[in-house]
């Protein structure tokens, strides 16, 4: 009935010229019901709207509408100094402020040619992987919440997240808005005992993962709700710039930690889980498995972290003026490729500051995944994309 649906079902076409994503209403008979899901809807993860056209309860058209939280983060950043944007990056994806900090710091370091001391690199890896743990745990919880599991998995995830946030608070002073990393290092050194505390949390985390998996991974209802739902074929995923666990659930081996080897990731032994079907279940399971791999990285990093300085002595806090030029730096944030593109004209403020928001770009194919499914599936598919509106709208 629709080119996109056929494509979704077969997934064979690899060449994606412009697809007629919306069938002209004349092709499908019957009366449509137009429902505006959101901006105030329990499962749109914030103020996000989907204008859904339904044939019965089947989706024939879906337009994501967002921008309700738009505050023109990029404009604000272009009007202030480089460092002053750092706390604003916390507010992009407010679940993962540590990785946001890192991505911005990485881009500025590329722009200004700063070196990061080894200890700071280790701290960055540890905080980023902790962020990944809590983000994936909560995402799985939210996904199941959208499926109607009444918050039980979410509460378990939050219980574990609290422990990680406590670590962040001990480290940076704030639980969510960490504002921890600086160009060429980190802001403060680890407080005494932090490593031991983190080791304890990391040791106990598999207990939570086992519990979570026993609770739901084999659950017939979960399997029925997620397997074969929202299939995203690999060629489309690549072509639509999908990144992160979503891309890997479609079977594409592309993890920036392996591909770019930024930071010190090549020192760690870890594997990248890949899905074969690209449906919601794969996206869920890839995240669960990624958490297990992150634990391996954490264990190694906590074991090997060397003493030393935590900041590049060349880096200045005030009057930081990189040479004119531009740089694009990206990291593997929990939600996908988080990139910062900076153009410097030699002044203390960036001339151009751009965030590449993985949440927004991963929404590109929301309609393609939802067509032909019904409303409950739409909710689940949206949940599996893993969006945070702070980042989508910026």
């Amino acid at each position: 009935m629709n080119a996109t649906i056929e494509l979704e079902a077969t997934g064979k076409k690899s060449n994606f010229e412009i697809l007629p994503k919306v069938t002209p209403a004349g092709e499908i008979s019957g009366e449509f019901l137009e429902v505006s899901m959101g901006p105030h809807h329990p499962s749109t993860h914030g103020v996000f709207r989907m204008d859904v056209t339904l044939d019965g309860e089947r989706v024939v058209k879906l337009k994501p509408v967002f921008g309700y939280l738009h505050r023109n983060h990029e404009k604000i950043a272009e009007g202030t100094a480089y460092l002053a944007s750092m706390p604003y990056t916390d507010r992009l994806d407010y679940f993962c402020s540590m990785t946001n900090n890192w991505a911005y710091a990485l881009a500025v370091e590329k722009l200004a040619g700063l070196q990061v001391p080894e200890r700071a690199e280790y701290i960055r890896v540890i905080t980023a992987e902790l962020t990944r743990l809590q983000n994936h745990a909560c995402l799985c919880g939210f996904l199941l919440q959208d499926m109607g599991a009444l918050g039980t998995p979410l509460m378990y995830a939050f219980r574990e997240r609290e422990k990680i946030l406590d670590l962040f608070e001990a480290l940076s002073g704030s639980r969510m808005m960490c504002n921890y990393m600086r160009f060429g290092g980190c802001r403060v050194d680890l407080s005494p005992g932090w490593i031991e505390e983190t080791k304890r949390v990391v040791e106990n985390f598999p207990r939570f993962l086992d519990e979570f998996e026993r609770l739901l991974s084999e659950n017939e209802i979960l399997i029925a709700r997620t397997q074969g739902v929202g299939v995203l074929p690999a060629p489309l995923a690549i072509n639509a710039s999908i990144t992160g666990p979503m891309l890997r659930a479609s079977g594409v081996n592309y993890d920036l930690r392996k591909a770019d080897k930024y930071g010190i990731y090549e020192r760690f032994q870890f594997r990248v889980p890949l899905g074969d079907h690209g449906d919601v279940y794969d996206r869920y399971m890839v995240r669960v498995l990624e958490m297990r791999e992150s634990l391996k990285i954490l264990q190694a990093a906590l074991r090997d972290i060397p003493p030393g300085p935590i900041s590049d002595p060349k880096a200045k806090v005030r009057n930081f003026r990189p040479k004119a030029g531009e740089a694009y730096g990206r990291i593997e944030a929990p939600k996908g490729e988080l990139g910062f593109y900076l153009i410097s004209d030699g002044s203390p403020n960036p001339y151009r500051y751009r965030v590449r928001p993985p949440s927004l770009i991963n929404l590109t194919i929301l309609e393609d995944m939802c067509l032909g499914h019904i409303i409950p599936d739409v909710v689940v598919i949206l949940g599996s994309v893993d969006i945070v509106l702070g980042e989508v709208d910026r």
Partner: protein, 166 residues
């Protein structure tokens, strides 16, 4: 006349009248439900428990819902613009009066009137069941077959319609 009976009869009739005279189709359906419920209450008043509750189960629980679904699925719930009474309502009324008169005459002249009223039976569910399974087993099965055939027909119609345009 028994006041309870009077009340129930009034309720049933009022429901029935409202069902044909209201503008909003869904309201009509709901009034029809009132009429069904009144009928069930009349059965109960006659001590026919099983029939009364079966009336509720089947008519209120199933038929009314069916009607409501039919209304919702076939047309909008907005009230139509055409007048409630058709242009030839006088003729219709005349026919109705004639039929009523004929029936009245027929009943009045029938032999039923001359038989003594037999004592009201007190049917238990068991007796009803036994009657259905012995004396009336053939009609029961025939009705069952008829309903099955109707259902299959309905399914076929629905399926055909769905295949058509796609």
């Amino acid at each position: 006349m028994d006041p309870v009976f009077a009340f129930l009869a009034l309720l049933t009739t009022a429901g029935a009248v409202a069902a044909v005279s209201l503008r909003n189709l869904v309201h009509c359906a709901l009034c029809l439900v009132v009429a069904f419920a009144g009928l069930a209450a009349l059965y109960l008043q006659l001590n026919a428990q099983f029939i009364g509750f079966a009336q509720i189960l089947v008519y209120v629980g199933a038929v009314a819902i069916l009607i409501v679904f039919a209304i919702l699925l076939t047309r909008g719930s907005e009230p139509g613009n055409q007048p409630i009474l058709s242009s030839s309502w006088q003729a219709g009324l005349g026919v109705a009066v004639l039929v009523l008169g004929a029936l009245g005459v027929a009943v009045a002249s029938s032999f039923v009137r001359y038989y003594p009223v037999s004592p009201a039976p007190q049917p238990t569910v068991r007796e009803l069941g036994e009657q259905l399974m012995t004396n009336y087993v053939l009609p029961l099965e025939v009705i069952g077959l008829l309903l099955t055939a109707a259902m299959i027909g309905a399914v076929i119609i629905a399926m055909h319609e769905k295949q058509g345009p796609r």
